[in-house]
């Protein structure tokens, strides 16, 4: 009797223990990280703004995996091992390149720089503080020859998340007098609510008429004290 009892318990525990393997997936373990680059330099973007898209073939239904970017153009995604296609979405400050996908064979943690073609790029940016004014000098380069500049702007903000949406000061540059490839300067007075801070952050952004997002310089931290 006792052996029978033990057998039943043993069988039951075996039965219970054996399920776990089948109906649960492990969480994705591999990391795909990198940044969007143009000519080797990371592009600054709006926080929570432009995205990349990952697709995977071999399943009956397709749905994209959105990859969001940080302020400095870096991104990372947790994924399963497999073959992915990475596309550069519209709704970004660079060309869509919809048919030009990047194949990613993910077998280990991978670092991938995604080359993009921004409509404009910002180089040689310098930010200086003189008295209560932030002066900046930068060069706007035309990358896509058909693109036109809609806005050139200087932003000041309280935090590293400074962009078109999150900012305290925004100064518009004169688009008609903008010369591509030559230094442009802008300056902004520091408003009263920022004067007392130890640091503020500054950034320039350029928007093409055909784009919905700005391309930015990297955020510059400026010590006030």
């Amino acid at each position: 009797m006792k052996t029978k009892f033990l057998t039943i318990i043993a069988a039951a525990s075996l039965f219970l223990a054996s399920c776990a393997e089948y109906d649960n997936f492990d969480a994705p373990e591999l990391t795909l990280s990198g940044k969007v680059v143009y000519q080797g330099r990371a592009l600054g973007v709006r926080n929570n703004g432009p995205q990349l898209e990952l697709w995977q073939d071999g399943y009956p239904l397709k749905s994209p995996i959105y990859v969001y970017m940080n302020q400095d153009g870096s991104f990372s995604a947790k994924l399963f091992a497999g073959q992915y296609k990475l596309t550069r979405r519209p709704d970004a400050p660079w060309l869509q390149q919809a048919t030009d996908t990047i194949r990613v064979n993910l077998t280990a943690n991978t670092n991938l720089d995604v080359p993009v073609t921004p409509y404009f790029s910002i180089t040689n940016e310098t930010f200086t503080k003189s008295g209560n004014t932030i002066n900046t000098s930068f060069v706007v380069n035309k990358v896509v020859q058909t693109a036109n500049v809609e806005l050139v702007r200087l932003y000041l903000g309280k935090s590293v998340l400074t962009d078109q949406v999150l900012r305290d000061v925004r100064i518009d540059g004169n688009v008609s007098s903008l010369v591509f490839g030559a230094p442009t300067s802008l300056s902004a007075d520091i408003p009263d609510n920022l004067k007392t801070l130890d640091f503020i952050y500054a950034r320039v952004g350029v928007k093409a008429t055909v784009a919905s997002e700005y391309v930015y310089s990297q955020v510059q931290k400026i010590a006030l004290k």
């Binding site: 929570n48 239904l61 397709k62 994209p64 519209p90 709704d91 949406v165």
Partner: protein, 610 residues
Amino acid sequence: MKKIYIAFALLIGLTMNSCKHDDWFYRESKTTITDEQLWNDPNLITSLLANYYNRLPSLHGVFNTGGMTEIDDAMWSGTRDQNGRNDFQYGNDYGRYWDYGLIRDLNLSLENINALGGKLTPAQKNQFIAEMRFIRAFVYFEMVKRMGGVPLVTKQLIYDFSGDPTPLQVPRAKESEVYDFIYKELEEIKADLAPNNGVATRANRYTALALESRAMLYAASIAKYNSLMAAPISTAGGEVGIPAAMAADYYNKSLTASKEVIAGPYALYNTNPDKGANFYDMLNKKPVSEIIFAKDFALGTKVHRFTYDNIIKSMTEDNEASSAISPSLSLVESFNYLDGSRGTLKDKDANGNYIAYTNPADIFANKDGRLFGTVIYPGTTFKNNPVRIQAGVAVYNNGTYQLTTSAVLGGNYTDGQVWTGFDGPKDDAVDVSNTGFYIRKMVSDAPAASTRGTSAVNWWPWFRLGEIYLNAAEAAFELGRPEALGYVNTVRARAGFPANSLSALTNDIIRNERRVELAFEDHRYFDLKRWRIAHLVWDGTETDPNAVVMGLYSYRVVRPGHPDNGKYIYARVRPTRFRRARLFRMANYYSSIDQTVLNNNPKIVRNPFH
């Protein structure tokens, strides 16, 4: 032996029975209705139509409290779990609408009534067909204004099991083709709808014209203003974007339809000499001469809870949630003064000092009557009772006012008078206004309307004459016709402005007039979209009073011995619960198409920016 007899008899009995009464098996079912019965019985068809009318789509309409708090006219002050409405960006799929289930139902009905409805009189049949085609045009209009050109499916799509689904894969029509389809349908059916004239809850001749007026205006302004953008939003195949050359024709069609409605049997509601109360009555009472087409409600059968959701805090008749919609300061300020000056409230003088007012409502004096009819502000009344809106007291101390609020609503200050009113406003509070304003428009004043047991039965206006006047004004103004001015002045006169209050029009005047006249009636989101200024007005800037829902808090002055003692001052505030400025991106001009639709039909072109 005996057994054989019995078996034999049974066998005979069994065979005899079954010959004659075949029809016994073919009796009419008492539980199902056949297609022949349905399509030949006007009563059954009418009740089917009721189902279709009930499914007419809207985005922020039909008393959609939540939707109304997702634009710049208001913020959400209800339960905290829905505070996402104050802390969101319009997603890529915001406003997505792809309802081919309803289109299929309508196509099926149209085919069946034609094939099977032989016993209907031709007049009956034509009227039913016209009503269904009206509903179909309405649904296509809702789709085109959110998604751009959509597949035009006008008959049932039936799979033939051949293994080849391509005949079912209809590509997207051009955006202009969908608008042309709507126009053509409405022109064809408007005569057949005449038997419904005088009925506000079914499509009649003027309902078709009203839809035509609105749809053609949308098409025209997209044609004009999309082309004026620095980079027009369009696809190569024209699924999105209408050529600028088509604008004038669409404006003309809209104006013609509007004029026909204005010449019809409707009149602007104008019976109450108190213009503010008159504007409120116009939507609260029914039937009124102004409403062209409405979704009606009736006690005991079909009610809505807009009043329960939004009644002012101190006048709730039920427990739990209330006061969800808090109108914004920018909406209040868009109501101009009756002398024609801009509606910016004078809360501070040129030196930045508070201006004190004797009565709480004095700062709103001499404003457009529609302000009273739309918004409940400090010092006004609701259901003939004074509202108790007061944020706190302002104690004068060392040369400045210290603004203090009570911990509980309705508390008294140390001087024995009101500290914070029962109606708030209270920052970061639930079920009480966070902006200092409540909504009055469409909040019913009927007894027990704010209880869940009874609920409200005021109707939802799909089309009303006030809108048609403004449609006509906009179309005429764009066409450079002189009559535009008269249409706007007529609408303004009903709101309490003197006759011929404007002598010249601008785009801004017309646009502002639409905002104040049609607030909370599911127009603003689509208006800003078709004028292509949504991304400029809702630019996501945290310091922009248009993108941020601001509030205005009133304080009673405590400054003994000073003439301002006991008067009221007002402070502009940004409510804590409003977390993120409205951000409308280029991608929101046309919503993204669902990935399953793209998976199923490779002929569908994606929308720009998606």
